[in-house]
Symmetry: C2
Subunit: 252 residues, 2 copies
């Protein structure tokens, strides 16, 4: 069944009226009509099965016939502090990390960033990427996109279990850092810092350490800036039992 987040956050009651471009899409692209059902999400973590009485190109009106807590939201919130990247690389990160379950993104301005802070057009496009990835992957909430932050401010603001990936780290691997972070039970939040194409400077790594952020290597192969956060977040979700469990697999 098709899934759609409502364009603005609003509480859903017994009926759902959809207008604007989403109504146009339901009518003209998906060609839905009376009796068809979709899942509507209000970004609260609940999802609503809605049966439409009428779908016009400017208005679709339906009735809520069921409501359930979305199964697609991880209990642990991972925030990806991702350095700004060139071209469309940041969009790739937003798309794939939203799919696997990342809760929020902080674009970070680092010493070696070539990419500049995003303008409002770019931010709008980024939000659209998150929306589409959330719908496709059956998320119950949209990942948050925070404003861009300078590296040091980002380090200072990150509370809780935090790890920075650095190819220059030779003594500690991501696995041992992760297991230490999880040793006293699953944390509510995990923060993962990933650098730009040219990597973090050693001064930045020192700043992070000074803020209590663990520094870890991903291993012998050097992952692209665009790939590292996805791989690290996927592994963290795996260790947390949030990826790779059977949907009905109680042994997980």
């Amino acid at each position: 069944m098709h899934r759609f987040f409502l364009p603005e956050d609003r509480a859903i009651q017994d009926t759902v009226a959809i207008s604007g471009s989403l109504a146009h899409r339901l009518h003209n692209v998906l060609r839905l009509g009376a009796g068809d059902r979709i899942v509507v999400l209000d970004n609260s973590g609940w999802e609503y099965e809605v049966e439409y009485q009428a779908v016009h190109q400017d208005l679709a009106e339906g009735t809520v016939i069921g409501k359930a807590l979305s199964a697609g939201e991880p209990a642990c919130k991972i925030t990806l502090y991702q350095a700004l990247l060139k071209g469309s690389s940041f969009e790739v990160v937003l798309q794939k990390c939203t799919e696997i379950g990342v809760s929020s993104f902080v674009p970070v301005v680092c010493d070696r960033c070539v990419a500049v802070r995003p303008g409002s057009n770019r931010v709008d496009r980024w939000r659209k990427v998150i929306l589409e990835a959330a719908q496709q992957s059956r998320r119950g909430k949209l990942a948050l996109l925070h404003p861009a932050a300078q590296f040091q401010k980002a380090c200072e603001s990150a509370g809780g279990a935090s790890v920075l990936l650095w190819e220059g780290e030779e003594s500690r691997g991501f696995k041992s850092v992760l297991r230490e972070l999880l040793a006293s039970g699953p944390p509510d939040e995990v923060n993962i810092f990933v650098g730009p194409e040219g990597g973090f400077t050693s001064e930045e790594v020192d700043i992070a350490r000074g803020c209590g952020i663990a520094v870890a290597s991903m291993g012998h192969r050097i992952l692209r800036a665009q790939t590292a956060g996805l791989v690290a977040a996927a592994i963290a979700f795996y260790e947390l039992g949030e990826i790779g469990g059977g949907v009905a697999d109680l042994s997980q």
Copy 2:
């Protein structure tokens, strides 16, 4: 230091002469000259540090000053049986999975594939994607790209530990399948099957089961066809100790 695979497989002795487009790149793009060093790979798993005596735009001549086994090759070979994908999605899979360490790729023709078998131009581009990703991520060997195969033939040819990812599987998760595959020690080879955009058909899943391939869910969130293989391979490498270990971390 820049790393380059030689254009064709040839054994490296005491000196290395490079011609053609790679010589052009060393001379005109990277502007290397006498005394500069690069790492040259012959796709044997060894890497050679080479100091150049002369770099011209059609010929670069250097001397091998060191030789080491590449650290970038995982002990376990993962083969990704990836259904053909639309647009540039297959390239994304090749690029990112080469980075994390996948050893070979089999493009698979499935019932719901929209994409057609690649022509020779597309295969050439795919090989270039693999080459660049291998150089960037410090692989010691190029991932193999096999010819496209029909789904059933691919299933029949896959020997050893094999798992197919299917969003319709409700009882078994990837984690429990993976741990079972690894229970008697790290296997030499793991095969991961990933479907096209529209997913595997239930008939295909039955064929796979009939060939002894385990079927597993990745969990509640539905990963794109383009993302699933990367996430599964990254997690397998993590369980195998091939990702997330510190470079000098003996506790891994």
